[in-house]
């Protein structure tokens, strides 16, 4: 298999390192000190109830405007091969890219990829068209995109007729996520953040997409941060590490058995453990306490 992009050409070891991350959305503090580390080849699940900060975490990592990092760091550490970085830190051996000041496309070039719960419709822009620009932007070969898209579409059962539609326009939930898996396959990121991958997906699509992602973790050393409300996803996408996020902080980290426990008890035990509200944490951290 050939790759159009340089970042993940040779499987190398990367780590997405998040330390003390605090994020404000509008007037509201949503993340109140997240610590998390995802390494190549690993699948991490971040689970939490509605409003716990899951999607905010995904957007903040990717640098969506409006998600303001008020404290903490997001760093991509890579070892074993050079990293194309716009911050001028690229070197063979080890490189550290501070992602916070970078725009979303620079983060993508550093090796990040994110899927959205509800992928945005972009009328008039085709999948290949977008991927060609993305590939060309890192010095890849535009001409290789068409064949790669076709190959990836076959891997996840994405109807080739849909390749010529506008991005996410008039696609079912399953088709959208298959489309995202095609993009992931072509762009070959180091770390993928999957936000509610299973929402709106039928069983077949979920299996196909999850299979492709697991394949990427094994063949391309992809690291995965899968954000999900339900443990259903984890029956097909097998997590090595499970984190529980509540009130914008990680309350507990464990193995796959943590998801099983969660399935039985729901989030209540973790909510009860800490009585203080996110607002209290917010005030405390602002005072530097």
């Amino acid at each position: 298999m050939t790759s159009a992009q340089t970042p993940a050409q040779t499987p190398s070891q990367s780590r997405l390192v998040i330390e003390g991350l605090q994020v404000r959305v509008g007037e509201q503090m949503v993340l109140n000190g997240i610590n998390l580390e995802v390494a190549s080849g690993e699948v991490h699940a971040v689970m939490g109830p509605n409003g716990s900060g899951k999607s905010t975490l995904a957007y903040a990592i990717m640098g969506k405007p409006g998600y303001e990092v008020v404290a903490g760091t997001i760093t991509l550490v890579s070892e074993g091969s050079s990293v194309a970085s716009h911050s001028g830190q690229s070197q063979v051996g080890q490189s550290q890219v501070d992602l916070v000041p970078l725009s979303p496309w620079e983060r993508a070039h550093a090796g990040l990829f994110s899927t959205q719960q509800y992928p945005t419709e972009v009328p008039g822009v085709g999948l290949e068209n977008m991927l060609e620009e993305a590939v060309a932007a890192v010095g890849g070969d535009r001409g290789s995109v068409e064949a790669q898209v076709a190959a990836e579409a076959a891997l996840v059962g994405f109807n080739p007729d849909l390749l010529y539609r506008s991005l996410n326009v008039d696609l079912s939930g399953g088709e959208m996520k298959r489309s995202e898996a095609v993009q992931l396959g072509v762009l070959r990121p180091r770390i993928a953040i999957l936000d509610e991958l299973d929402s709106g997906l039928d069983v077949d699509a979920l299996a196909a997409v999850s299979h492709r992602i697991e394949q990427a973790t094994q063949q391309d050393n992809l690291g995965v941060l899968a954000i999900t409300h339900f443990s259903r996803l984890l029956t097909v996408l097998h997590a090595d590490v499970v984190h529980i996020i509540i009130g914008g902080v990680i309350r507990e980290t464990g193995g796959p058995d943590l998801a099983a426990q969660l399935e039985e008890t729901g989030y209540d035990p973790w909510i009860d453990k800490r009585a203080e509200s996110p607002v209290d944490i917010h005030i405390g951290s602002e005072l530097g306490l």
């Binding site: 419709e121 972009v122 008039g124 762009l187």
Partner: protein, 446 residues
Amino acid sequence: MIPPQFGPEAAGALAGPQWLVSRRIAAAEQAAAGSMPTAQEEVWRYTPIGQLDLSRYTLGLQAGAPSPVSGSAQSTLSTPPHSAPPAIVVDTSNGHLCGVQFPSEAANGVSPLHHPNNAQPTTGAQPTTGVQVRVLGEGDADLAASVDVDLFAQMNAAFSVEPLLVKVPAGTDVAATVLVRHWIDADGVAVFPRLIIDAGPDSSVQVLEMYSSSDVNAFVSPVVEIRAAAASRVGYLAVQDLGPKVWHIGSQVCHVGSQAHLRASTAALGGDYARTRLDTHLSGRGATGDLISLYYGDGQQTLDFRTFQDHAAPDTSSSLLFKGAVDDSSRSVYTGMIRVRPDARGTNAHQTNRNIKLTDDAWAESVPNLEIENNEVQCSHASAVGPIDKDQLFYLQSRGVPTNTAKRLIVSGFFGEVLEQFPVSEAVPAVRTRLEAKISGLNQHE
């Protein structure tokens, strides 16, 4: 005040059949009796019309003098926007006819290039049956309707040097596209192109009209009359790609007959102040009008559209989609009116105008209106002015598409829906190329 070079005397001096001369003089008198429009009038609101100084312009070269088609003009003209199918090509230069070509498929033998100093430029090689493309002549008085929607339509009636007629006999499907190309490279010239498309019952034709110029000061004031008789199918696409100093004030007046289908489109790209007024009269039962246009302003341009969808008969349909983008400190104006007359029950009328504002300095106005005098109708209107969608931008960026490239993709995609619906589809790649060239300048002023 209308300056003397656009008075009745000047109009009467233009060559043509007697009926046309009389009509020109009458139109010039009417224009001279009126006054210059002002931006206080609703239909001229938001426009720089007060800055128009007609005394800066003179009529094009005297009739009878050959039009010098310069090297650059020649090269522009000789790159037709499309290759196949064969086209009947009419060229004008500074307001004067300078060439007519019939492809062998449309006539028995190719006619040579005709110059305007030929009394009847297109006689001889015209096919005796099928489409006729010629300058209005002696017996054509009934074919030229009076269009006096505003002062400039009156001036067009007075000063159109060679009103052009595309006449399609009943039952005739014209395979060849009729391509009319206007080229302007004389500084200070005022030109008044007139095109009449007369499609007989159950006929079909498609016409592409292109306006382009070198970087001159010029005043271009065209009128297009389209008459689509019962059960005819007419496609018309105007591509306005004039230079940045040219003023363009044009009118398109369409009458759509019973069960006829009109597709009328404009791509407005050039000009300093460029206005198109579109009056579509759905006058026969079951008439349909698809009115699909785009515009892209940059620099200091003002692009202005006034549309009227006039439903005068039962079971008529109109679907209007105008999409525009304004970059730099350009401006656009869209005002639209759907009028449903008392008799027009069963009307289906839609009007959509969407605008992308690419900079803080750019400005777009969108004013939809409805006037409905019958209850058994389905009407809708929608209008929007806004910046590039932030979520769309983030989506493309998050895949590694750099910001400016992402913006170009989104803006270009925004127009895709319009281009897909344009008539004269073989011209669309050229329009797209020209549009992309403008869009590629999108990030220049950030």
